[in-house]
Symmetry: D2
Subunit: 324 residues, 4 copies
């Protein structure tokens, strides 16, 4: 039987006071909890909305990004997709398998090759999360319900095909650079102050619709030490997530597995994923390659990402770029 | 036993005189044949090159494209990826299968969903061809040999991971529009004159490094009448291909299955694929959605495509855009 | 909200009086309904049982079968597994795809070949159904519940690995033969009388633990006219199913898609599947090839089937045999 | 270029004198080499034969096996198929992945579950090798050639569908038991004398058409220490293979990865696989579970194996049994 125990707690949280919904298995004094369906739905984008922060994508954000292209220099931020752990990181419990379907060569004859790919393609490599990825109880972003939208061959709502191409001003928040390290510690908790100081150092401010890219340096481990990369990661705190959401970003990404710190604060179950993907509808980018971007001190740029329109998928492997 | 009968024929072809390599199964007087390895290798991009026309991608092409972005209007040119033939076209003999891996919902608990994708992902939907896709005898672009580069899990050379993000000036050559029809006939052969007249009508000229997009109108059949779409298609002739190659494009694409007319001239085996992917190293885009672009009379634009860096794959499903 | 309307009806059914459980979407006067959880659980094999009629498999059934082997003549009753619809039938909405992973041949060197198979392997071709295959509401055989046993990578209970090798006396009930036809009509409803008369004609009686094989002749369509084969089929009625269950069979199979007649009586949702796999725990064999067996008038034989022990799977493709 | 250096050596080997074919990369004085095509083809089963030792399967072998069934006791010799390395062994570089395709439970409604299996199904778990599995240069059993029989979706010849159900007298040769150990050493080389002494100890002699099962004890490692199990294994020597082939077996199997000792003698490339599958056409069974059979001292029994008739596959996962 489903049992819901509602505990109303008033908290002074940025961006506002929200009431929390206690988990039956809750910690005493959890630092944050997903608001109940009643409190979080409809989302600010309206009943039935499936696009969340993707709604910020407009001709204006394209033009704003375009103005930042000055030299034509391109930074490719996506990983190689390979089953070889010496070349790439594939998220835990998933596979990226590529099976060549070669032609048998015939003299003086054109033949063609192709390959079968078997992969959790929404959730491997450098990837963007669609809202169908996360569920609390049986409830998704904008309170779509599992029994209504689930299916064997894709979700009927909230699939990655709703995202479309995103192009906007990108801002690199280099927390590793701020701290003067190559890589933040394995469980470093990025605070709002870290984000604000890194921005201030480069005299930048976030604007609504920005793509926020956070450099932890941890992405250097991908294809080098996948086990360490997967076990933990430096990442944003709950408070940092709340601050970011308050800036109205189109997309937030990082060079780590899950954007958020792991293990998460108070041993919660990926609270930033709950907050971004279920509550606010903010898309997340994971496993970015940021070495070149940060080395080039490219803090402001046009950011472009094209996700595969896989009907009903929970995300897509992507190969985003930053251009300046 | 492999038997090679070499017939040397001197032809005045643009962009130069090439000698042809007779097929043992050749038609009398074939209109074109793939030059022999000796004659076509190394490619103009040098021995060992794997990127062909992708080498044209440079900061300069990015800047040239950027200048064409004036309103921020985005045209998405990629198909939905779906197994449902009423929604999408999947190239013959291939599959795009998506199997949801749902969590079992649990009260008051975050769970996550993902999906397994099984697909010939290099060759389904709107897709870009890498050079590993095509082989003549046992020889590829730049005369890489099957025994040297083939493997069970991807080609060791010429894989799609070599392409990278491409951004350049895009030019729409609207042949259907030129002929005043919604859709060219099922086996309409697009000639060099068709291309030149359509360009002249819009007072446009191709420049080296352009992305050339050809509108046949045939793409409207995708997801509507896949059988007809697949059986034949209007597309470019051998002469049109030769003229295009002479313009030094970064990429050539169309809203049909294979860029080239099918059935091909003289019943050859996809001669444009041989010419572009084996001889010259020019990437091809297939199954584009061009309805909106042509309806908007958008003839010149920034074109951007991000292919998945699947190590050793023969191509990638893509979701390219035109922006003006 | 789940609403259960319980309608108690007393029926003289073998093996006992059961009460029926009305569906909220029920027809007026449905001919049969699955008893409620309270009424059907535990199964006669006891609480927690996962093997149902498989429990009948014992040294005694093996010996009884062995005594029927007199000439050593083997009848292979399983289909070819192939993606080619001219060679095989694959159950609707499923695939059997086989991708060769060839070695690249090397002179004077041993190499090895293998293949990737992508298939709903529990439910394609000639196959046996495990109890995880069928669910009513969220309840399975012996009232195992979905939330307790479901998982992404197989069911925690009731998987095909519980069946094991089955060997027992097999009895062919040739209803097509009884009716003097090559193939029963497309929606022929096999009654208890059909079964009893066909047995009487051969002077045979069923015994507990028998493998009952029903010949409809319809299996001849597999690989010949798959569309017709799949659309409808002659098969057993609800009453015939009840009579069969009363004989305590180890396994019941037929040369049709689903053992039972389709469309089912009173437009119910595969009532025989509910009765056999959820209520009584009797395994089902589908898509048998019975041409040779029936042509040889082999009515009594040793029957042997080995299912793949795929942990948590809902069934297995099989290649059973009859030997006499 | 293919270079063949033929070294003719006359050897007194059973079943006759054969000449050997030197590898270009050969060791000095290799203990055995695959005879050249001229010398080994056609096989003793005649030109075009695809069944090899499977031809020994006849009503007579069935009857001979049947006579050995005295108590009805069944020994299941096949492994569980599972992706979990704590439960099962999957041969290196391969996968056995099972993805549940659950129905979304609906109140008062029958739904059904199935699963997608992605696996190198011919070569995982307890499995039987078909002749398409092994190639020397471009030549298979009975000198079928790669260019003639290879295809993307299965081999045109020599596929596992040719094997059919096999039932014959089975004989356990318990070499571990002979040596008084639970498990032979990791690289123990089983000699002809080992086999002969183990048979003599039980007063058994092989007969043509027998299924020979060799107990090394090593199979106990499956699902316990897969890494050790895969790295090396006790197994038969080249001489033991030659002796066995001389006994005209229907099938030879063992509770190890590859029947033969690994690393193989003289660092050859799986010589027993060459000898059995390419030269003589004797099927091989691998990864058997023999704990119960050997513990029960069951040395003579009816052996039955049903392989899936996957068109053009190189083998099949199987679940064979011994019955006495």
């Amino acid at each position: 039987m489903k049992t819901y125990v509602l505990v109303m707690i008033s908290l002074a949280l940025c961006p506002g006071t929200v009431s929390l919904h206690a988990q039956s298995d809750a910690q005493p004094n959890p630092p944050w909890q997903l608001p109940s369906d009643d409190q979080r739905c409809p989302s600010k984008w309206g009943p039935g909305d499936q696009r969340g922060s993707g709604n910020l994508m407009k001709p204006g954000t394209v033009l704003r990004a375009t103005k930042l292209i000055k030299t034509g220099e391109v930074f490719e931020l996506g990983e190689l997709l390979s089953a070889d752990p010496k070349e790439a990181f594939i998220n835990g419990g998933r596979q990226f398998s590529l099976y060549t379907k070669p032609a048998v060569p015939k003299p003086d004859t054109r033949t063609e090759n192709e390959e079968l790919v078997v992969a959790e393609l929404g959730q491997v490599g450098t990837q963007i999360d669609a809202f169908a990825h996360q569920m609390y109880g049986d409830s998704f972003y904008n309170c779509y319900k599992y029994a209504d939208i689930a299916g064997r061959n894709g979700y009927k709502k909230l699939g990655v095909e709703n995202i479309g191409m995103l192009m906007s001003r990108g801002v690199l928040i280099d927390v590793a650079g701020l701290r003067g390290v190559d890589m933040l510690g394995d469980t470093y908790i990025i605070t709002p102050e870290d984000l604000q100081q890194a921005l201030a150092k480069e005299k930048l401010a976030l604007q609504p619709g920005d793509v926020v890219i956070i450099n932890t340096g941890y992405g250097k481990l991908m294809g080098k030490d996948n086990q360490r990369y997967e076990r933990n990661s430096p990442g944003i705190s709950i408070a940092a997530g709340q601050w970011l959401v308050g800036q109205d970003p189109m997309l937030v990404g990082a060079d780590n597995c899950c954007l958020e710190v792991r293990p998460p604060e108070a041993r919660m179950s990926l609270p930033i994923h709950q907050m971004f993907l279920i509550q606010y509808g903010v898309h997340i980018l994971e496993n970015l390659k940021l070495e070149q971007l940060s080395a080039a001190h490219a803090y402001e740029f046009a950011f472009i990402v094209q996700s595969l329109k896989m009907k009903g998928a929970t995300g897509s492997a992507v190969e985003p770029v930053a251009i300046r």
